[in-house]
Amino acid sequence: MMNPCMQSFIEHLERDMPWHVIRVKKEVSAEFEIAAILQHLEARKKQPVIIFEKVRNLNGSLSELPVVINLFGSRERLADAIGTTVPNLALAYLAKERPVPPVVVDRGEAIVKQVVQKGEAADLYQLPIVTHHEMDLGPYLTGPSAWVKDPETGWTNCAIVRAYVAGPRHLVVNFNVARHSNYYFHKYKALKRNIPLILVIGHHPAFYMGAQTKLLTDEPEIIGGIMGEPLELTPSETWGEKILVPAQAEIVIEAEMSTSEVEIEAPFGEYTQYYAGQRLNPSCEVKAITRRKNALYLDIMPGHADHLLVDAPMIEAYLFNRIKAVVSGVIAVHMPVSGSARLHAYIQLKKSNDGEPKTVIATALSSDYRLKHVIVVDDDINIFDDDQVLWAVATRSQWDKDLVILPGMMGTRLDPSADDVVTTKGGIDATKPVDHRSFPQRIRIPESVMSRIKLEDYLAPDVLQQF
């Protein structure tokens, strides 16, 4: 049985949740126009997957490959991809985050081998690669899960990276300095070896969610756990059985990353919605491109929900585990898009003593270098609703007692308010005292009345439709 793939997921959406998919048949430019259409839809609070059927490639010809964008732009779709609901997403992810060893399949069973281009024939310019923001240095691959194998343990790390397309067989790839892929990079560098780099573009969302695990392990095993079945791998064209690639991916790019040669990369519009400044990053030579015959090209829209949510539930799951080990009353963690889904965390707690919220704050802030602000709330606050969290801050916190400030911590360079990688973190205890008798009661309408009253019994259909 073949693994579920990106196309099977999109077919499922079009069949069972059709409001989640829009197809654009009119020709669009990959330079800014795709990004502009998505931004207009977001302004209307819509987050569909958009499939652009007519897009020109970097050679200027109509591409054989449609562009898919915003696959990850909705928590509802991510939850659906792993068979759960939005409120349970992080906990369901944790329950599945177990190693399931991959299986190796023959090339004949691998849809990613239906088209094989090697050497000079491997031409990135045939792909409809998108340019997103005005000051981006040029077209970027934003959808790749980059696979790097640890030269010592043989474990594979997977990370979503940005890759600047500097030529038809030439990429410049950014590895996040604080992540595992960069740790592996330095192992290869010490060995004076270049890195076999696999860029996976397009697979089932559960694949991407597994690939974003925060565990330091052989990540294709975790992908199998999240997908609920062993991930199918197949030998690469360049390195054979030494380096395996996902068999049911849309597109795989095999490249050799230099550990000695760097070149110019960025500006690039990043998740904080600021440009990353121009920098030096390792250059990569493309060795082969393999893909399915009717492949879809996956783009992730940087700085928008598509980019933010592809990682947020996994960070939430990781933080939940870390906090749970210290404070057992933690109920849920939410990284809101309003905090770039990295910088803010809302944490729901059923506390048993008044020291727990600050312990939660300190644990969370030291568990992820990007996380900068934490708000801890009680279990009657919906942490998926910014308004409710801010209401709790307004009515349940006194900042002379409830504010925690931790200066001089490691942060992210992408936060322009930080002093390079050094940042000040903070948290707010917006919980009521454990002794509830000392705190006023929250207003409410009787539950029996709320559940009995149906708006359609009181409002005409045309009036109701306006709401």
């Binding site: 040029g138 110019i264 500006p267 400044g277 121009q278 920098r279 936060d415 322009p416 930080a418």
Partner: protein
């Protein structure tokens, strides 16, 4: 606050900002090739960095 450094493109004369590590690297290697995000022209740095 972030320490932002700017370089100016000799072709289109627009300024854009660069990473701190690149900024440090340019001080020891003024021949570094840069690429302007506006006009997409490559150029040899050889100039000055404006600290923001």
């Amino acid at each position: 606050m972030a320490k932002v450094s700017y370089v100016a493109c000799p072709s289109c004369h627009k300024e854009y900002y660069i990473d701190r590590i690149l900024s440090d690297a340019l001080e020891s290697n003024p021949n570094q090739i840069l690429k302007c995000p506006f006009c997409k022209q490559e150029f040899r740095f050889g100039g000055t960095i404006r600290r923001g």
